[in-house]
């Protein structure tokens, strides 16, 4: 089902690889050396940035994506290029095709991770898919898909990942960590963003799970991103009048969200549980007054 890129990839030549001559695969002091992260929907956009940050910090990364690559070979953002970049940093990349809205597909995804990686330390729930329409205009099929992908899909991932996340290291009482990627749509109205309601639901799930799974050592938190110029922004700008005219300084870089995910996956965040951290360069503070 998946293909390891290692055979074709560039080994040990990345900036954090610690040099390839001595056979050192990754830096000795990297934050997540020996750990494995799964980032759902990580072939591009925010997920891709998170995957690369994990690798920069020494973790092996499972790149989950829903569709096979497009025939457009000119693109440099493809899954193969991403995996090669991760391998270039001295980490392993495992691209695995799986539609998270299917429980069976998620079971296979986790079975493959267990088989290939033998562990999972970080689960980042980033995958999302939704039509841009007012919620009352969604057809039943669209409503079900909205819930299947953006709510049930995340719950399936959490449930099926638990046996792997619960496996404890010898040197720590904290098991795996779960980070959900939310958006400002969970709190603010946008006429064509039904995904916001699912983000709100998931923020509640994060709060609840932080208690129930926290007792089992699993930390659960969320990061809510502001306006990010990923592929999804191409859609948003057609439904949100004037959004593409906002000052550049209000747009968040995917890497800025990824950095907060790294923080939540590190021991530095050990006292944070069930929270949604907003990363929006202050955009939400300015929503009720004219933007200058």
């Amino acid at each position: 089902m998946s293909t390891r890129i290692e055979e074709e990839g560039v080994k040990g030549s990345g900036p954090l690889a610690g040099g390839s001559e001595g056979g050192q695969r990754r830096p000795l002091l990297s934050l997540f050396a020996g750990k494995v992260a799964l980032v759902t929907g990580s072939s591009r956009g925010i997920g891709r940035a998170i995957a690369l940050r994990f690798a920069a910090n020494g973790a092996d990364v499972v790149i989950n994506h829903r569709r096979a690559e497009t025939p457009n070979q000119a693109r440099q953002v493809g899954i193969q290029a991403l995996c090669q970049e991760i391998e270039g940093m001295g980490c392993r990349a495992y691209p695995i095709l799986a539609d998270i809205s299917s429980r069976e597909s998620v079971k296979q995804l986790m079975a493959e991770i267990a088989d290939k990686c033998q562990r999972l330390d970080f689960l980042v729930l980033n995958a999302a898919r939704a039509p841009f329409k007012p919620i009352e205009r969604l057809l039943e099929r669209e409503l079900r898909e909205l819930v299947d992908v953006n709510y049930l899909g995340n719950i399936f991932c959490i449930k099926e990942a638990l046996p792997l996340l619960e496996k404890k290291d010898d040197d720590t009482t904290i098991a795996g960590k779960i980070v959900f990627i939310s958006s400002l749509g969970s709190k603010f109205y946008n006429p064509a963003y039904p995904l916001g309601s699912m983000k709100a639901a998931m923020e509640s799930v994060v709060r609840d799970l932080s208690q129930s799974l926290g007792e089992r050592g699993i930390m659960v938190n969320a990061v809510s991103g502001g306006l990010v110029k990923t592929d999804s922004f191409k859609v948003l700008r057609q439904y949100m009048e004037g959004v593409d005219k906002l000052p550049e300084g209000l747009f968040v870089q995917p890497e800025e969200i990824a950095d907060v995910v790294m923080f939540l996956c590190s021991q530095a965040s050990r006292a944070i549980a069930g929270q949604t951290i907003i990363v929006d360069r202050g955009l939400s503070n300015r929503l009720y007054r004219p933007l200058g």
């Binding site: 457009n72 000119a74 693109r75 191409k234 700008r237 057609q238």
Partner: protein, 187 residues
């Protein structure tokens, strides 16, 4: 009214440019008959990107929703796409009327995911031309009947420089569906 400022060649040129920029391919390699998905490797988000670029160039609003979605909204859920995500006979009948030759591959029972590959470069250009053809007789802002198109593609009012208020791509699809339904009583 039929606008006489921007000809078909200019529209095709801008469509090719928008596709080339979105997909990072050479304009010379794009032919009007190319399928955006099959031949040029476009994904669903690329369609929106291409539309956005064309909107910026011409000052228009391309259709946000595909004709099948409009059918479902106007004639009820299940009218165009059945429970298995396949095209109904009525949807195919309507799309054949709409797309003409480009609809050769359409069959009832076909998976809805197989419809986007039917969209060609020429389909996009046709959509732009249809919107440009809705240039109003008079400026909706000041009532002047004089339009101008200087060095760019947006058409402006000669008197007040207000951009032309065209019908949107979605409005045109809805109007077309309404008139075809009245004539053919498909649903």
């Amino acid at each position: 009214m039929t606008q006489g400022f921007i000809d078909d060649n200019r529209v095709m040129e801008e469509v090719k440019k928008a596709i080339a920029q979105t997909l990072s391919i050479d304009t010379e390699k794009i032919r009007p008959e190319d399928s955006l998905v099959r031949d040029l490797g476009a994904e669903s988000l690329d369609f929106l990107d291409i539309n956005y670029r064309l909107e910026q160039v011409f000052g228009i609003k391309m259709a946000r929703h595909f004709i099948l979605e409009h059918m479902e909204e106007m004639f009820g859920e299940g009218s165009a796409i059945d429970d298995n995500g396949q095209l109904t006979e009525k949807a195919v009948k309507l799309m054949r009327l709409r797309l003409g030759q480009e609809s050769e591959g359409l069959q009832p029972g076909m998976d809805m995911d197989q419809v986007p590959p039917l969209i060609t470069v020429a389909t996009i250009a046709k959509g732009v031309n249809e919107i440009l053809a809705t240039l109003p007789e008079k400026c909706t802002s000041c009532g002047s009947p004089q339009w101008k198109c200087n060095d760019g593609a947006p058409i402006e009012c000669s008197a007040c420089s207000q951009g032309a208020a065209y019908s949107t791509g979605d409005d045109l699809i809805k109007e077309w569906l309404t008139s075809v339904q009245q004539e053919h009583k498909i649903f």
